[in-house]
Symmetry: C2
Subunit: 245 residues, 2 copies
Amino acid sequence: MGRLKISPVVKMPIEVQATTALRNAIVSGAIRAGERITEIQISQQMNLSRATVRTALHQLAKEGLLTLVPYTGWTVVSLSAEDVWELYTLRSAVERLAAQLVASTITPAKAARLTEALDVLIQECKRGDTARIAEADFGLHKTIVLLTDHGRLGFQYGLIEQQTRMHIRSSYAIIPSPKRIIEDHRPIVEAICAGKADLAGRLSEQHHLAEGEKHLAHLKRLEKQEPAKTSAAAPRSARKRAPAT
Amino acid sequence: MGRLKISPVVKMPIEVQATTALRNAIVSGAIRAGERITEIQISQQMNLSRATVRTALHQLAKEGLLTLVPYTGWTVVSLSAEDVWELYTLRSAVERLAAQLVASTITPAKAARLTEALDVLIQECKRGDTARIAEADFGLHKTIVLLTDHGRLGFQYGLIEQQTRMHIRSSYAIIPSPKRIIEDHRPIVEAICAGKADLAGRLSEQHHLAEGEKHLAHLKRLEKQEPAKTSAAAPRSARKRAPAT
DNA sequence: GCGCTGGCTATTGTCGCCAATCGACACACC
DNA sequence: GGTGTGTCGATTGGCGACAATAGCCAGCGC
């Protein structure tokens, strides 16, 4: 009597499912940045008790996707220039660490996975579909982070990624040319695979700082052309110069 | 008719107060690492509804202080060697970024605050009380992070700090000599105040990696002397070598 | 003696309802 | 017209009760 060919049912509390569905709705743009939402509205749409929805919303607030004014309401964050600066500087630090960790523990198997992810990115760049290029780009970076086998780093990276995705969807992000994307990413992967931790870390950090600064300058130009849009949400910080490296 | 001299009442929802009280209880060691707690037990002790306590516990789980097995119970995390590795590597990256950011935007006022925090640390090292030295040490690092004016960085640092504090309380942490502490910290502060972002970042990163590795080696020696203690909690990761720099 | 099954207990999950708070608006007074 | 006060509606905060789940233990069959 062998094993039956039945897929296991994955049990998941409703709270967790609600959190996941709401996170996806926010990150995908189905619920827009800056939008006000209420527990009542969401509980009716999801056919769940308000308390269950409330737990989910609190979780997402902790992830930086929502802000709550007690007794008043919830707002999906809308990222200001300062938020953008925070995200790309933090991402540069996290990804520097990831590149260093993977490079210092590189194995043929890890190198193969990295090379494969880079190949996917290169193929998408040749195809030219910007959405698929962006996905492959995220995929390569996620692979580096996953190869660290560092749970907290992966968690932190996930928070940064989802906020970055939200922002890209709700703004007029500039997309580097496919040629440039390949030129930027290949040396990072090569340094990691060659076990050059210091070089890999520096290249990775530089890549994100450079892209972040370009994007920020672009946003500033857009702001000059339009009335300032009110920014809900994340703690405001004064903009600082990027760290010299 | 001018302003009355009455201090404003700081309103804080009970949920937030409960979260803060529980966080303090965990970080201070009043609730021990590895301990199992239940919503019912905590709600009775705090004289609050279980639902309120539940919200608080979920928040703290998100901060990495607790883990939940659905329908079964909550456990205060007990940090394994792998967790320690994760914390100090992540801390090294975060503090590297902080040092770089402050150094690249240094002002006389910031330099004064940093120098003051270093002076406090030096004074405590002369006094020799290890608890006060540790507090002054944390205080200096927190000052650097706060001077970045980077909300997300401060939040991330706070998570690392509280988990580190928990671990220090629940383990036989080795404390560096006061002389060594001064030798390690002074060059970091000097580099930051001199606006040398690259040097400040490297020194800061190195400081945490070196201390972390020493501590980890110490833990490994302790583990060899005792039966393995079961580790609740945080995602397990394989130990990796520290990144070369 | 071992493995399986069922029942019980203890816990978290989810619900609906009452309580507390905030913001907007109307009204009264100066 | 401006300011202060009170009320109301909309929202979140907090509660206790019922539902769902997991783990443990006793009993039974082989």
